[in-house]
Symmetry: C2
C-alpha cells in the first residue's frame, strides 16, 4: 500500500537539472532508490500518453459512427429512424462522442498545463467506470444492430445497408479502444486505491 | 510496490493460536504492524468469498440460459435453431457455463483444501481476462437477440417468445455477475502486478 501523501509530494525534477545531470554522465539520480522513482514517472507518463491516444481514437470512431448513422437517410423506407436498432446505435454513438470528447479535452488540458480541470482523486473512479460503461454500451448497441443489417443485406446490398454496416464497424472499433482504456484506468485506480 | 516473495511467506496463524489470543483479550497481534496484516487477510478473504459467490451465480444464470434456450423447440417455425441470434445466445451460454463451471470448481477446491489446482501467478491474468471476455460475450449475445424477440412479441406472445425472453434475461444477469467478477479479478491482479 503506497502512502498517497508521499506520492503527491514526489514531483518531477526541473528539466534543467535533468539535462545537466545527463551532460555529466553520472548523477546521484542513478542510485537504486531514485531509479525506482524515475521508472515510475516513465511508466505513469507512458500510461497517460497511451490513455490519451486511446481516448482520441475512441472519439474519432464514435464521431464517425454518429455522423455516418445520422446521415443515413435515403427515403423510401431506407431511413435509420425507422429501425430501433439503428436509433440505439446513434444514441450510444452520441453519448460516447460526448464522453470521450470531454475526457480527451480534460487530458489534453492536463498534458499541456500540468493541472487537472477537476481536482481530487475521485476523478480516477469516474475515469474507470465511465470507460467501462461506455465500452459496454458501445458493444451492446453494435451487437444489437448486426443481425438486422445482416438480414437486410441478404435481400439487397445498397447505400443504406452499407452505411449502417460501416457505422456499426466504427462502433465496434470505438468499443475496442474504450475497453483497453478502461483496463488502463482500472490499473491506475487500483494503484491509488485506499482499500 | 509489494515484494511478491514477502507476500507469499505471510500465512495465516494457526486457528488455535488466534482463539487463545482472543480468550486472553490482549495479544501482540493487536499491534499496528500486525493489524495491517490482519486487515489484509480479512480483505483477501472477503474478496475470495465474493468472487466465489459471483461466479456461482454466473454459473447458475448461464446454465439456466443454456437450458431454456436449448429446450426452446415447439415446431412450426418456432424453433430456436431457425434464428442466428438465438443460436448465438445458446453458444455463448454454453461457453459461459463451461468457463464459470471450471472457475467455480477451482475456487471451491481452493477454499476447501487451501491449494490451487493450477499453481503460479499467471492464473490471475486468466481470471481477469476470462471474466472480462465472458462478460463482453454475454452482453453481445443478449443484446443481439433482444430486437428479434421484441419484433416477434409485437405480433404474438407465445411460449416460444417467452422462453427466448427469459433465456435472454438470464444471460443479462449472467453478464452482470461476470462484469462485477471481472472488476474484482482486475483488482486482485493489479495488487500482484510486477509492472
Amino acid at each position: 500500500m503506497t502512502n498517497p501523501d508521499k506520492v503527491n509530494s514526489i514531483s518531477p525534477p526541473p528539466l534543467a537539472a535533468v539535462a545537466a545531470g545527463d551532460a555529466e554522465g553520472q548523477t546521484p539520480a542513478q542510485g537504486v532508490g531514485e531509479s525506482d522513482v524515475m521508472r515510475r514517472w516513465k511508466r505513469e507518463d507512458f500510461l497517460k500518453k497511451t490513455s490519451f491516444a486511446l481516448r482520441s481514437l475512441c472519439l474519432v470512431f464514435s464521431l464517425l459512427a454518429f455522423i455516418i448513422m445520422a446521415t443515413n437517410n435515403h427515403g423510401n423506407g431506407r431511413e435509420f429512424d425507422d429501425y430501433e436498432e439503428y436509433r440505439y446505435v446513434l444514441a450510444i454513438a452520441i453519448l460516447s462522442t460526448l464522453y470521450t470528447g470531454f475526457q480527451t479535452f480534460r487530458q489534453f488540458h492536463e498534458i499541456s498545463t500540468g493541472r487537472d480541470i477537476i481536482p481530487g482523486r475521485n476523478i480516477m473512479m469516474l475515469d474507470f467506470f465511465g470507460d467501462q460503461i461506455v465500452a459496454y454500451l458501445l458493444l451492446s448497441a453494435a451487437s444489437s444492430a448486426v443481425p438486422l443489417t445482416n438480414h437486410m443485406r441478404e435481400g439487397a446490398d445498397n447505400i443504406f445497408t452499407d452505411s449502417a454496416a460501416s457505422s456499426i464497424s466504427m462502433e465496434f472499433l470505438a468499443f475496442t479502444t474504450s475497453a483497453i482504456s478502461a483496463m488502463i484506468s482500472g490499473y491506475k485506480l487500483s494503484k491509488q486505491s485506499y482499500i
